[in-house]
Amino acid sequence: MLSRVADSIYWMSRYVERAENVARFVDVNLHLMLDAPDGADQQWEPLVNTTGDHAEFEKLHGKPTQHNVIKFLTFDRENPNSMISCLRAARENARSVREIISSEMWLQLNKFYLMVNDAANQGIDSPHDFYSEVKLSSHLFNGITDATMTHGEPWHFCRLGRKLERADKTSRILDVKYFILLRSVADVGSPLDDVQWAAVLRSASAFEMYRKRHGRISPKGIVQFLLLDPEFPRAIRFCLNSARDSLHALSGTPLGTFRTNAEKLLGQLCSDLAYAHVDDILNGGLHEYLDNLQDSMNLVGTGIIDMFFAKRVPAPGKLRPMEKTQ
């Protein structure tokens, strides 16, 4: 397929996933704040930190409050990573590849964008209902993608983008808790702490599945589950494994070997997670571990761009006229 098209599909998929995760970030914090004891200071700054846009935020809004953080992350058209900006970018990408994706996918993405756009213009009555609907719309888009698109090259680009983005965002959701913990060390192990960890699980739609796997809520179990679980679909390891499968399906390189930098880096990450022990991670510092992980995932992303989307010029005399790959 065309490099430009692959590029658009990959980013369409990443941006939809990013928009969904904004809903998850905000929703988890709304819940945390509801459960916080009276007078507990509203902690909205960590949210801006975890999305990596704090410099931008300070420039536009100054001191973080519930109102301006939610606005910044959700409806701020100036913020390139806000939900509305992500959906706009996803839709623009989709619009430029409408002939490649299925009509159903376009229809759903267009409706999704229009729904959030209306909310941006008219305001929202119930934040919880709104963020739930965003999550649902994204799930619908992914379900439609899997059910209506041939699982060939374009689909693998979709999955590659979606899974890399999700791995990155799950790591940031885990990090939200880290930033909040820092401020309330006294609460560790208290009932309030349990409530907070449960909210983290809920924000990754992981609460029930976690209960089935680990039963008791414990920080260790939760890190194990969201970071290292090979079967839970929002776990980082699960996401990176399926991203790796798609990358190799696209390049044709056998699994376990590599030809490009992206394949090498992603393979190494998957191996690391397969042999990592949760105690080692916690001892070394969860935040530091997640930080490294995010850096490595960014390098994988750069490698993918270089591998598939970069514009090249043919060397004269190297092309054979009858060469075709279809």
Binding site: L2, S3, R4, N110, L114, L250, P316
Partner: protein
């Protein structure tokens, strides 16, 4: 909903005869509309409107910045064409396209038609669409305009006239296909009761035609659709057609010329391209051959085309016959190449470049329509009866300054079709653009884009100037054969269900 208050006025109405009763072909539809409860038609129209937004059937308007996507208003009362009438239109279009192709070929080769004194040399030489680069060119299979969207209008006299030929990159066919799709879901019963000829196989026909143009020796040619990009006003259509044909949609930077062939950049390396359905104007397709400042095209494309290693549809240079002065000669062109009288007449046209016609035009400006020879989209024209004295005087000056650039035509009373206005139906003026494909044979799509001027009394149907569209139903006098429409369904196998547990 009743038609009792519907007034056909002093116009030809496509749905109702002079006696006020529905025309034979329109009876099932009229009955269906009359059987609807008050407000039901309006509800259906609203459903159609929101479907259009959700499906993203949009066009872009230049220079409007953010929110520049607009939908083409769609009116759900269709235009109906009887089988016998369509038969004549189809024959007329085939004859006209056949003759125009011979004319264009002649223009770029021996110019027999000039030597025989039918069309003056200076008219051809001064046509804006004439391309010196195409002189001596032999397009694949000898065809120049593969895709044509001829504009037809009906006057008060009931006669169908050709208004424009549109031999370059006619747009709008995607609306035809999407409008039909919408109508089938809104009026399933009427479709069952009327024999409406399907249009849905157009993309297949289009692809077959394009593959037919591929260089010799290529068994499964790679066809691409070249678009100026996502900001072009017709981008939705480009994307839609590529999807429906199952071909790649490319922009100029996806393609590269090397070793005498055209290649596209893919994730797996470079792949050869054999046929390009280009929706970029001649001037922009190749900065090496045409405009140097074009960022949209593919450098070196024209050389590959001339060498016969890639096909372009339409061929460059066809615009020579889109000039409105050349248009005035088309009946003579048809006669010259085919030996027959044109089946579909032109609108009578005064050529300002000719002394006698110029005199007439200047004396009768308030009753004529004046058009610039090389403009389209409803721009650069004067509708005499709807214009002020100052506007007429202004045009008179422009015509005297450059008579070659203007033609005059009588103001036609375009026929009307009932159109939903608020909660009731009123007549609105329409034209019709059928699409014609010229490959192994000439194929005329049964139907086309009916454009409607939504403003009361307006004669301008262009989407950029307040026009909308309607579905066009061409009726068959035979039942629709299965091969023409969807294949019959086989009987379903037994459905398995979950085993009951107790």
């Amino acid at each position: 909903m009743q038609f009792s208050n519907y007034d056909t006025g002093d116009f030809f109405d496509e749905m109702f005869g002079e006696d006020g009763a529905p025309r034979a072909a329109a009876r099932p539809l009229a009955r269906n509309i009359e059987s609807l409860a008050d407000g039901e038609l309006l509800a259906l129209q609203k459903a159609a409107d929101s479907a259009v937004v959700q499906m993203g059937i949009t066009f872009n308007v230049y220079g409007e910045g953010a929110g520049m996507e607009k939908t083409l208003p769609f009116d759900l009362v269709p235009r109906i064409v009887a089988a016998s009438e369509w038969d004549r239109i189809e024959r007329g279009l085939k004859q006209r396209i056949h003759a125009l192709n011979l004319f264009i070929d002649d223009v770029y080769h021996s110019r027999k038609i000039v030597k025989d004194g039918i069309v003056p040399e200076h008219v051809i030489a001064s046509s804006k669409g004439f391309r010196q680069q195409c002189v001596g060119l032999k397009p694949p299979r000898g065809i120049w305009c593969h895709i044509t969207g001829t504009d037809l209008v009906r006057h008060r006299d009931g006669q169908i006239y050709v208004l424009e030929d549109n031999l370059r990159c006619p747009s709008g066919v995607s609306y035809v296909l999407e409008n039909r799709h919408l109508m089938k879901s809104l009026f399933p019963k009427v479709f069952a009761a009327s024999k409406i000829r399907p249009v849905s196989n157009y993309p297949i026909r289009l692809r077959d035609m394009l593959e037919f143009l591929a260089p010799d020796g290529i068994t499964s040619p790679r066809v691409v659709l070249l678009t100026p990009g996502v900001f072009n006003s017709a981008y939705f259509e480009h994307s839609f057609l590529a999807q429906q044909m199952g071909v790649e949609l490319v922009v100029g930077s996806d393609l590269v010329v090397s070793d005498g062939f055209v290649w596209m950049r893919t994730t797996q390396g470079f792949e050869r391209v054999d046929v390009i359905y280009r929706r970029i104007d001649d001037d922009f397709i190749d900065p090496e051959a045409f405009r140097e400042d074009s960022m949209l095209g593919v450098p070196g494309l024209m050389a590959v085309y001339k060498a016969g290693n890639v096909a372009l549809a339409n061929a460059p240079g066809t615009g020579v016959a889109d000039d409105k002065v050349v248009y005035a000669y088309v009946p003579r062109i048809v006669k010259y190449y085919t030996g027959q009288e044109a089946i579909l007449p032109n609108v009578p046209t005064y050529i300002c470049d000719e002394e006698k016609d110029l005199q007439y035009v200047l004396e009768h400006l308030p009753e004529l329509v004046i058009k610039a020879a090389n403009e389209s989209g409803g721009y650069g024209m004067l509708i005499g009866p709807h214009s002020t004295r100052e506007q007429c005087a202004d045009f008179a000056e422009r015509i005297k300054d450059n008579p070659r650039n203007y033609i005059g035509q009588p103001t036609l009373a375009l026929s009307r079709v009932p159109t939903l206005v608020g909660d009731h139906l009123e007549g609105r003026h329409v034209d019709l653009r059928p699409y014609i494909l010229y490959g192994k044979e000439i194929f005329v799509m049964p139907g086309g884009l009916t454009r409607v001027a939504l403003k009361k009394g307006s004669l301008v149907v262009n989407s950029s100037q307040g026009g909308g569209s309607k579905d066009t139903w061409v009726l068959a006098d035979q039942p629709i054969t299965e091969s023409e429409d969807a294949p019959p369904r086989p009987l379903p196998a037994q459905v398995q269900t979950q085993a009951m547990t107790s």
